[in-house]
Symmetry: none
Subunit: 151 residues, 2 copies
């Protein structure tokens, strides 16, 4: 699932230095985590993931500030989802798609970015100008579906 090899860590360190910021352990850990996770993560999820990892927990506020610095340096993306929480992801994963699709699990609330083909733009009323488009799917993710079946 999450790649924790030293190459990811070295990669994260290099990227952080490249934007002129200090490669602190906190930043490296967070960026490596984001880089190894295909979907957008909420602050809460990141905090939990870090606490479970070998290096131990990170302060709530520090994590917010680390995320801020990564976002302002362009290494991470931040978007508000429909439940009013920010989700963070490593930059290169989403920046390519002007129009991309999200799957949101109604059970656990997680959001998955899908590599969906851009759907054809529907007919707009005259005079409307389209700038962005996103396809939002909702349902149940694999884990929640199987958990329901199993348990």
């Amino acid at each position: 699932m999450i790649k924790r090899g030293s190459s990811t860590v070295a990669d994260a360190t290099a990227k952080i230095r490249a934007i002129g910021q200090r490669a602190t352990p906190a930043r490296v850990r967070v960026l490596a985590l984001l880089g190894g996770t295909p979907r957008g993560l909420a602050h809460q999820e990141i905090e939990t993931a870090l606490a479970r990892s070998g290096e131990g927990p990170m302060d709530r506020v520090t994590l917010y500030r680390v995320l801020d610095s990564l976002v302002s340096g362009g290494l991470a993306l931040r978007q508000a989802d429909e439940s009013r929480i920010f989700r963070f992801s490593a930059a290169q994963q989403t920046e390519a798609h002007a129009a991309h699709a999200h799957f949101r699990c109604d059970e656990c609330g997680r959001v998955f970015c899908l590599a969906a083909p851009p759907p054809p733009a529907p007919a707009l009323p005259a005079g409307f100008r389209l700038s962005r488009m996103s396809l939002d799917l909702r349902g149940e993710c694999r884990e929640c579906t199987s958990r329901r079946r199993t348990g």
Copy 2:
């Protein structure tokens, strides 16, 4: 700007009754306000507008619950914007279908429900179950586009 004639109030009352809810003063006021305002309003803005109107202020929590009831009845739309606050607008039409499209104007914040052709469901990872799908378009609506051109 906001139409305060009795016809709007009567209209709001009728719509609320039509969905099987009680036409209380709070609901009627809020729905009439939303119906007479072209853009999405934040809870805070609605509260202020109501306080300034002749009928006096409304309790914060009551307003949240009124908005909830309007949304669940399909008379209003609620979406989280980029600054993590909900914006509410009158629904143009009650469309209870599983897959529909919204157009949101980045300029005035209004939301339009489009009669979009059913978009092809993209390939989901194995184990995922799809329940709803919505296509969200953003750009500029006709009025804002022409207003910009005209002056």
